[in-house]
């Protein structure tokens, strides 16, 4: 990963009005002065106010902050589940802020792999079928789909569980199925929102070991958490508070 030129971490945008530099074409992710505002009746809630940062390919980043600080909002924007109220978001040199619904769906399918706190697997489907799901939406034929899904399950050491349904699997195994599902399309980023939030300490460490390994294999990983020991496994930590970046530091 040494070929990536790491720019100095952007300065925390304490003053949102200050002019921001153009997006970095070399970065996988480039966010410029991102705002997210919710209308609550007559009141406006700014979940994010003017966030800017760059993430090069292959990084392992933790986004940490207290509850309500805007972590999930930021993650939903990175994962293209949502679009910013203001600002520019460049993913793989494409301006996501301007995309329509179908284009966003395509980005979520091809470029992003989501891992959720509560796994979010389809209860009635087998592990294999759950992992195949993104490939279905990617329009990939069934035999190739099977092979790719089996390969992804092998990568998370679940080759012997492919016909099991979620209720026949432990929490850690379910999260590994979810990770396989996130990875199966070979996305540009793996996005995990509190991935260990529903797991015990031991299993949490196993999942974090898996993330470390996946990072070692070249994946770009962003983990959202409020736990410091989870954040410390990453190589760079972005701390946010009240919708602003408070700190952005490389720790490894």
């Amino acid at each position: 990963m040494s070929d990536v030129t790491l720019a100095a971490p952007p300065t925390p945008s304490a003053l949102p009005e200050q002019p921001v530099s153009a997006h970095d074409a070399n970065s996988l992710i480039s966010m410029r002065d991102i705002w997210k505002t919710y209308e609550m009746g007559s009141e406006q809630v700014h979940a994010l106010h003017g966030v800017s940062f760059d993430i090069p390919k292959g990084e392992y980043i933790a986004i940490i902050g207290p509850s309500g600080s805007g972590k999930s909002t930021l993650m939903n924007l990175i994962g293209c589940l949502d679009t910013p109220s203001k600002g520019e978001y460049w993913l793989n040199a494409k301006n996501v802020s301007l995309m329509d619904d179908d284009e966003l769906a395509r980005i979520r399918n091809q470029e992003v792999g989501f891992v959720f706190q509560t796994f979010n697997l389809l209860a009635r489907a087998t592990a294999l079928h759950n992992v195949e799901l993104p490939l279905i939406y990617g329009g990939i034929g069934s035999s190739q789909r099977h092979e790719m899904a089996k390969e992804a399950l092998r990568a998370v050491d679940l080759s012997d569980r492919i016909t099991h349904r979620p209720n026949e699997l432990s929490g850690g195994q379910r999260q590994r199925v979810a990770i396989a599902r996130a990875l199966v399309n070979h996305p540009s980023i793996l996005l995990a929102d509190e991935p260990t939030g529903a797991l015990d300490t031991h299993t949490s460490m196993e999942i974090m070991d898996l993330f470390e390994r996946l990072h070692g294999e070249g994946n770009t990983i962003i983990v959202v958490t409020h736990e410091h020991d989870i954040a410390e496994r990453a190589h760079r930590v972005i701390s946010i508070r009240d919708g602003l970046i408070e700190k952005d530091e490389k720790i490894r």
Binding site: D101, F114, N120, R124, A125, G138
Partner: protein, 418 residues
């Protein structure tokens, strides 16, 4: 990119699981669609069966035949009007007069003598059997040329035999079998109304299309010369006439017969006919207008059934969308487009109603088998195809709103939904 990027197998499984999970609503859904499809199957098979049978039956009398009676044509429902009952009878002379018309090939009178002058059944007997349950008709030898009845053995009686009051008879195939089981009836003696008749011919068996296995009038019949029949039932004037138009001159024949009969029966100018002409074609079109009433009833019943099914499936799908909000969120997060979600729920709804349609088709199919014991019927190909297409279509139409609701859900809110 393919239009439907959905996993049909998965959607089918989901649909069946939904069906199992919501038993009562599923039952209503399936039941309504089922009733609709069964109705289509049954009524269409009745209509096409009866229609074909009636058509064949009528054609067997000859498509050029015109049946003339003193009553109005058409299918009578209820009592005849007083005026109709008071009309004077057609006569032998009327029948003979019609033969002179240029568009008429032949014309023969019939005298029905099932009952004698005192209203008693006329007895028919052979050395081994006596029965009153045989139709007896007097006619002329020209009848053979109409082609309605074909002589299989022996011959038809002749004009000479008619003119000389000879007691000869031509018998239908069942009469031949019933009264003379051990050999040919031709040349045998038969008692009819107390007189001795000689059998000169046996008719070919006429096929019965409409009520197979019912009582067999068409073959259980004896024809005797017209003059002889009149002797068996003196004073009988219950005459009807069968005329046959020359080839391709049906319309002319109808006009000429009408004009001549109006003159002979002294119908004043401007007054309606006091007799009726019936042709196979006319009868069929009358009959078909009755059938189309039945068809409308079918459409109504089956639409009500399909509507009930449609509302059921809409209900069930709305519940399903709410219950699976989170799943919809997940699907969107991993790349499902709105159209993908839309198709998923549409396929699910169509599976539900399509399932109901298939159940209806199977039950309907079994019922048409039972029906065949009572009525001539067959299932026209369009009925199962149309029934199935309609049931799937109902799912697609009534699934539209729930599917649209699902497709429109916000992914983030759906993912947060408990």
């Amino acid at each position: 990119m393919k239009l439907i990027r959905s996993d049909i197998y998965e959607n089918l499984k989901m649909a069946l699981a939904t069906l199992r999970a919501n038993k009562l609503r599923s039952f209503l859904t399936v039941f309504g669609v089922m009733i609709g499809v069964i109705t289509v199957m049954l009524i269409s098979s009745i209509i096409s069966g009866v229609d074909t049978a009636v058509k064949k039956e009528l054609e067997s009398y000859g498509t050029n035949s015109i049946f003339i009676s003193k009553y109005n044509p058409g299918i009578h429902i209820g009592r005849l009007s007083r005026e109709e009952r008071m009309r004077k009878d057609l006569t032998y002379d009327d029948a003979v007069a019609l033969t002179q018309l240029p568009a008429v090939e032949l014309s023969v009178p019939f005298l029905d003598i099932g009952n004698n002058f005192f209203g008693q059944k006329i007895l028919v007997s052979s050395p081994g059997k006596t029965s009153a349950a045989v139709a007896l008709q007097g006619t002329l030898p020209d009848f053979e040329r109409a082609g309605t009845q074909i002589v299989k053995e022996g011959r038809f009686f002749t004009q000479y035999e008619n003119d000389n009051n000879e007691e000869v008879a031509v018998v239908g195939s069942s009469v031949g079998q019933d009264f003379f089981p051990y050999g040919s009836p031709v040349g045998q003696e038969m008692g009819i109304g107390g007189r001795q008749f000689r059998v000169v011919g046996v008719l070919e068996k006429r096929e019965q299309f409409l009520l197979g296995g019912g009582d067999d009038d068409q073959n259980n019949i004896i024809y005797v010369p017209f003059n002889v029949a009149r002797k068996l039932k003196p004073g009988s004037n219950d005459v009807y006439v069968q005329a046959v138009a020359r080839k391709g001159m049906m319309d002319e024949a109808l006009d000429q017969i009408t004009d001549l009969l109006r003159v002979r029966r002294q119908v004043p100018f401007g007054k309606p006919d006091n007799f009726g002409l019936q042709t196979a074609e006319l009868f069929l079109s009358n009959f078909r207008s009755i059938l189309s009433g039945v068809a409308i009833a079918m459409v109504v019943i089956s639409s009500v059934g399909l509507m009930v099914g449609g509302i059921g499936v809409m209900n069930i799908m709305l519940v399903s969308v709410t219950e699976r909000t989170r799943e919809i969120g997940v699907r969107k997060a991993i790349g499902a487009r709105r159209s993908d979600i839309m198709w998923q729920f549409l396929i699910e709804a169509a599976t539900l109603t399509g399932f109901g349609g298939l159940v209806g088709l199977s039950i309907g199919w079994l019922l048409t088998f039972l029906l065949r014991l009572l009525l001539p019927s067959y299932v026209p190909l369009w009925a199962p195809i149309g029934g199935f297409v309609a049931s799937v279509g109902i799912g697609l139409i009534f699934g539209l709103w729930p599917a649209w609701k699902a497709a429109r859900l916000d992914p983030i809110e759906s993912l947060r939904y408990e």
